[in-house]
Subunit: 344 residues, 4 copies
């Protein structure tokens, strides 16, 4: 059985530990954090774990796979070392703090022939998978536009702004659904509370096959919103992650443009049909994600949120942040930054 | 008593007719439309009205004030004629289809010394006035940002796109609240159903005193939203015009940035207090607006949504449409495009 | 064409007048009210109407059908006179202020061979008709129970309590859906603001085929609710009349009772499927109702909310008010108090 | 420090274990369950615990206090033994399966001079405490009525019906708020899925100081509701436990009855003011409850949800189930069945 180690026991690490302990797809044997109190706490909970303070020491142990939940600025360094040690690597989102570094990790993983996966958990959640099915099956028709709102009061991250913290979720969902990379992007925001750290931002994306997308993210909003509207030529969907029972609503609605006869004006009519909220599985996305990682190691399959996928998310963020940045040559040569299935 | 005539009996005109009939502030004596069926219908309802097919004929009559609810592309021409005839003029929003024409009307009204007012009805609605009071009184603190969503399925306008149809509401509210003109603006949208007519769009504004604003407008959305979030340093407000009973919610919430002692990191804490939904008057904005018009004619007062105000709204739309357009010299010379009270 | 007259121009009468004017199924020729100001107002709006102050004078005129929207305590007297004058009669709900009087009207209408219909408008509304279809088609399975909430702040009626004002709606819907008369009923309430006039009440009904029902009605509630939950063995429905877009939601949910094998406990499992909110027609129930009245006069068909149906509603209210009152012999002899179609 | 033991590790027991482990107000030393797998699981989690299969053995140990989370039918027997062993006793709600047995436990606890407390956790939750303050301070005026809805799909209990499972919560809240015992009660329900076990029920209560109350409970409802409406003469409150952020809403609304002058009708006017959703503490009710138990042991204070309080809840359920049952002599002699503070 695959032996797995966990590096980073801060905010998110304990969730990974719980799932690594829960699954039968790996043997969870080691953990690592600079802070001895965190190590003490986790080994009290999982007494069989070997505890390390330095990542290098864990990497020198016999684990086959490493999961990295350290601060974002350290992702690149820790993942690089882990790959050099011949480990399969799972990195929490975002894969790295720049496209260049993310891309370097992708290339390194290919060279050392190890799995590199990014922890974009939402891509494994039942409502997001359901919308993907609706898009891919043609149920929604051609996609017109997508509008994301992810706002709430807090939680401020120490090392990144709200785009790197919250928009990264929406962009991963967007790239998973559309399976293509934006040709143009832009962003707009403001640092309200702290200097030079945006706590509210808006991002725009233009996709090659037509659709446009907007993401609104904020740490400074009185009401929590986790709302995405997906508008297709045949049907429209609202995915609201705060709704306890009906997260996905499919509206059989649209506008029909009638060709004018001989001469005269175009006529528009509205079509309104039933709304359906499909029943969704009640499975934990994090568990599905982690088991998918170990599955891919065993079968050789490319993870749905591979390193390349994660690099694409980082590239899209940088593109929006730089307001129209085009994917550079290195990325273009790979020609398939965003591969989320067999499509491209 | 002021004699009033109404030009344009299409979609909106009958609402103006109803209110002109209802108020005791004017004598509603004449109406005008190219379509004789519309004239027949309105005179059946208000038998005392004189009916004209040509605007010129109504303008030659003894009315003191004219209300214009014709298609947007004709606003300029009809309003110009009305001012030349020495009438006080109320023009439905937007004032004109370009800043230059709107500005020309503003100057003409000054030359002929007649009132020019734009029909931005929302500016007279109780929730919008309540938020204005909260901002002006300092109750919200410094404004961080404002986020508007005005989306629904339909109603497509024949001669304009969704920005000129829907965003014009949000921009009028925004300029009324902030009482200043944006220094930068941008927009992004897509023509999904018809060619070269955006049915979904996003607009961004940067205001000189700090706040940023975003407007999302769509004719192609499965759920109706009329939601505005106003975030200040002391309090936050959600104004939801679709809520039947609690349109304005004031949240006593915020983030406090603690200065680090001697050295160390900045600390953030969240403040969460009560939420208050103030009771709002149940008055009809359109009636208040129309009576305000006749009041201003009688007292000489400048209307809250004066011609200048309306020209500012048109200028802000053009600024966003051109993605960063700066107010030109002519506008700057007037130096007070947006006067919504005694402030400037 | 049928000539129709309207008696009673208080709160509800003007709505009937508007619809009588709008439909092409009758000639609306006469109206009547004790208050000359109401008569003046209505004849200004509909100048062709003959106006009467005394019901007798209207009944002496050549109208074929009379619609009665007077205070409840006068329904019996006015309807009786109208039937004696050989008019077809539409009486606003409730048909009369006692079962005995309602029953007398039913019998009288049979004797004089005229249509008697009760104005239970909700029975003609698209969501109520949709739920009826779901029940009758077996889509919901066997009905377990129904729970109604109809509460808001005001509007107090002068001559009746909240049961006669609000519960009458729910009971008409209930009898229409179930098509049978309760075998047992009870009620419980309180007069909070005025003496001896309940402003909050709860009613319980037991139906012969199994289902039970509860109605909560209140004039003294901070939030408006118009919510009905219909629970069947196969599916469950929530009908929320305050929801602007999804008034009917059909839940494919239930509990399955598994027979124990050999010995042991019963096992229960929960079934959760999709939720569907069917698209509903956007027709005005009042217009449908009024046109149904004139249709029935012409075709001889029995109205869906016939006099007998209306007498059943009154009997069910009295049954609940008296806490277990059983339908008396006279009613039982007719054997078909609740006829809502061709079923019985 | 008080040594505490836990009997019963089924559905609810593990929650008590977690809190007993978390608090510093006791030493959690022993646990007991008939099922060895449950014992093994809990001792893996809390290795310092002594594990017993027989309650008697735990009671023979040196624990000072015992918490009982066994099936309802065993509460009486286990609690009785624990009191005879001189332990302080906390019993999960309901205290016993009959008023007589509950009352016997109350008397026994007095005889052996040990604390007896019932686990009515909601009484310690911030929204319920907030409403209690609003009532006691007179902020709501005189209470007119209270309306509870506690419905959802599942969770069926094995040994009791929906009244003993769900209504027990509402009744505990009701008795805590009103601080008096009903003079009359009634209930109505149906066994839909299983025989002789109600899965939907309605309860009515009449309180001596005036207010009436209704409780709707169901295991067979498509939407989850946890809604309570409290209507007073000055203000009205909606307490919705499913609302993630605004569980308590206080409406400054009411109806004013104007005395008629000399002669004429009573006039009613409606008063509508602001709505306030007070900020509520984010504390865990279960922890507060358990720490209150140990506090009471140390200080001698009577628990807010004492044995007497718990016996009152059981008596109110029986009263409703028997449809008007009056508290018997034994209960009346104590004269203070419902003591929820220092008031009586």
């Amino acid at each position: 059985m695959i032996k797995a180690g966990l590096i980073g026991l801060g905010y998110w690490g304990p969730n990974l530990a719980r799932v690594l302990h829960q699954t039968s797809r790996c043997e969870f044997t080691a953990c690592c954090d600079l802070d001895p109190r965190r190590l003490e706490k986790i080994t009290r909970q999982y007494p069989h774990l070997k505890a390390y303070r330095r990542p290098e020491d864990l990497l020198d142990s016999d684990v086959d796979a490493v999961l990295i939940a350290t601060p974002i600025s350290t992702h690149y360094e820790v993942a690089r070392k882990a790959l050099h040690h011949g480990k399969h690597v799972f990195v929490e989102k975002p894969l790295a703090d720049s496209t260049a570094r993310a891309q370097e990790l992708v290339e390194l993983a290919e060279v050392v022939d190890r799995k590199l996966m990014t922890g974009h958990t939402f891509v494994y959640s039942p409502p997001v998978v359901k919308v993907k099915e609706l898009i891919d099956s043609g149920h929604l028709g051609d996609l017109h536009y997508l509008s994301f709102s992810r706002v709430n009061l807090g939680l401020y991250q120490k090392d990144v702004d709200v785009v790197w913290d919250l928009a990264v979720h929406d962009i991963s969902i967007l790239l998973y659904w559309l399976d293509e990379f934006p040709v143009q992007a832009s962003s707009f925001g403001r640092s309200c509370v702290q200097q030079a750290k945006r706590d509210v931002a808006y991002l725009w994306f233009q996709f090659p096959s037509g659709p446009v997308a907007s993401c609104e993210v904020s740490w400074l909003s009185p009401q929590k919103m986790r709302r995405t509207c997906i508008v297709g030529s045949k049907r429209m969907v609202v995915y609201d992650d705060t709704d306890p029972s009906e997260k996905v609503k499919i509206y059989d609605r649209g506008v029909i443009l009638h060709q004018p006869e001989t001469f005269g004006e175009f006529q528009l009519t509205y079509r309104t049909g039933d709304m359906v909220a499909p029943n969704l599985a009640n499975t934990e996305p994090l568990l599905i994600e982690i088991e998918h990682f170990f599955n891919c190691i065993e079968t050789g399959e490319t993870p749905r949120t591979s390193g390349k996928f994660g690099a694409g998310v980082v590239a899209a963020i940088e593109m929006a942040n730089h307001g129209g940045w085009q994917p550079d040559v290195a990325l273009a040569e790979h020609g398939e930054v965003i591969v989320t299935g067999g499509k491209r």
